[in-house]
């Protein structure tokens, strides 16, 4: 209901904007034809009309962007509400079950495991939201230490394997170094969060089987790269840059089946940029898998 209403208003504003621009142009041209003798006035008029046209175009663009942002914000609130309340509901349900029923010892153990997994999920969501909250403050001081990036990525891989119960053949790790180990000066927690987010995505957006290869390589004396390639659903080329925006989630059938807040890649980008590096996505298109590359300056 709300969404269709908003879509209608988007269409309304686009139509209104286009109509006004067309009207202004028609008036402008007509006016020039009628008054071409009065050159001075004509020039002035043209300038005024141009200003009006530019103003209307800017205004319409702004409105559309604002509406889109609102939509994303709504979707984000819904997603976060869901991500916070669902594990809570589950934990609460199992606690009540333990309190009121009399489950067998094995069931009890199973319930404890489920509650632990749910509290991890809850913690993960809370951390994502908090991290995204201060990701906007670029001046927040880093807590730099010297990190062996290969080692850190391997740790993240192990964690992902445990979290999603993945077999050893699903995640591959490789290194290509120029003799020296690649080290980075930075905040280990933040960088770990960035790499984990990319691994989470590689797993979440793999349609059938998870097949992810991760490679840490030294590009030159100054830079090191972490490449995470999956054989998942892929990304249309028009979306490759937008996906790093806050709250942005690429539209599509498969996307609607995967839950997410639209914060993960935004966090990746802000963490990497804060470390003086860059991140980008590559994909041959839908169904072709995607590759994310983080480049960081070497310490």
């Amino acid at each position: 209901m709300a969404v269709s209403g908003r879509r209608k208003s988007v269409i309304f504003f686009i139509t209104l904007g286009s109509f006004l621009v067309a009207l202004a142009i028609a008036l402008n041209v007509g006016w020039i034809l009628l008054n071409w003798r009065q050159v001075a006035l004509l020039v002035l008029g043209i300038i005024f009309f141009m200003v009006i046209i530019v103003g209307v175009v800017l205004n319409t663009t702004f409105l559309i962007r604002e509406i889109r942002r609102n939509e994303q914000h709504d979707a984000f609130i819904n997603a976060v509400t869901h991500e916070l309340k669902t594990p809570l509901a589950s934990i609460r349900l199992y606690l009540e079950t333990l309190k009121t029923r009399n489950p067998s010892e094995a069931q009890r153990e199973n319930f404890y495991d489920i509650m632990l997994a749910d509290s991890d999920r809850l913690l993960h969501t809370v951390e994502q939201v908090l991290r995204a909250g201060h990701a906007g403050h670029s001046r927040r001081r880093l807590n730099p230490t010297i990190i062996d990036i290969g080692e850190m990525v391997r740790e993240c891989l192990d964690l992902t394997r445990i979290r999603y119960n993945l077999g050893p053949e699903t995640l591959h790790y490789g290194e290509s170094m120029d003799g020296e180990r690649a080290r980075v000066a930075g905040d280990a927690d933040e960088l770990r969060a960035a790499v984990s987010n990319l691994l989470d995505n590689a797993n979440k957006y793999s349609d059938k089987e998870v097949n992810v290869s991760v490679e840490v390589s030294t590009l030159d004396e100054k830079r090191v790269a972490v490449r995470i390639a999956d054989r998942g659903i892929g990304i249309p080329s028009a979306q490759l840059r937008r996906i790093f925006k806050r709250f942005y989630r690429a539209p599509g059938l498969f996307m609607s089946r995967v839950k997410g807040t639209g914060l993960g890649l935004f966090i990746v980008r802000s963490v990497v940029e804060k470390h003086g590096g860059r991140v980008f996505a590559e994909s041959a298109g839908l169904g072709q898998g995607s590759t994310f590359t983080i480049q960081l300056p070497r310490a």
Partner: protein
């Protein structure tokens, strides 16, 4: 034994519900998306006594599932269980055909009580249809069957049926609730806000126009010319007024 279908994509929650429902003596089936639920209920015609329906499902969401069920004439009681608790979500849930709505996280005992209430109502209804008289059976409700007649129409609040000379319409609990409220205040103007508070139990600032969709639907049921209502009248700027009309038996 009553059968419950749980439509929930969160596996932990679904299994927790299964454990508790089975402990209460229900048989439980679980599906993880809307399409699967629709195929069980509409294609396979599986008989369930109630459905616990999540809203944020992959693919077709809970709103769509509920309204497709109702459109297809499947009136199994639906309890929506969802993290979305804004008043407009609740209203949209009822609009799409839900009979009850519960927010996550929920209290287990409340969920059980509401589910039991839904199933009990359905059982009364079924017994009535099978020819067992409403009065005198084991779980008789405290009140005698409530029937209201006006202008050739009969509203049977116990069986959630509205009978007109040409058709019989099944009402959802909320449609019946709203009709009952309007009838109780027959001849008086009731505001949209009052309806939201009294019928839905919503106290927050809700978009009160959401109620209008319900009124449109009710008019289709009870008016000969829904565009020129004679019973369910709009009072501009305030709300609605129900008038039984000159033929109403007192």
């Amino acid at each position: 034994m009553s059968g419950v279908l749980v439509v929930e994509d969160e596996k932990h929650l679904a299994e927790g519900l299964r454990f508790n429902l089975e402990a209460e003596g229900y048989t439980v089936d679980i599906v993880h998306d809307g399409e699967a639920a629709l195929s069980l209920l509409l294609d396979e015609q599986r008989p369930y006594d109630a459905i616990v329906l999540d809203i944020m499902l992959p693919g077709k969401d809970g709103f769509t599932v509920a309204s497709e069920l109702r459109t297809a004439g499947q009136f199994v009681p639906v309890l929506m269980l969802t993290a979305r608790g804004r008043p407009e979500d609740v209203l949209r849930g009822f609009e799409s055909g839900a009979d009850d709505y519960l927010q996550k996280p929920f209290e287990l005992s409340v969920l059980m009580a509401r589910l039991n209430a839904l199933i009990r109502r359905r059982e009364w209804f079924q017994k009535d249809r099978d020819g067992v008289p409403a009065v005198g059976r084991e779980e008789t409700p405290a009140n005698p069957p409530e029937i209201f007649q006006f202008d050739g129409r009969t509203i049977d609040f116990d069986n959630l049926e509205l009978r007109t000379p040409s058709q019989t319409v099944r009402l959802t609990l909320m449609e019946a609730g709203l009709l009952r409220y309007l009838i109780e205040h027959e001849g008086k103007v009731v505001s949209r806000k009052a309806m939201l508070e009294e019928v839905w139990g919503l106290n927050e600032d809700t978009d009160t126009r959401a109620i209008d969709n319900f009124i449109v639907r009710l008019r289709k049921y009870i008016e000969k010319e829904p565009s020129q209502p004679r019973h369910l009248l709009t009072v501009r700027g305030v709300g609605y007024r129900f008038v039984a009309g000159p033929f109403a038996p007192k």
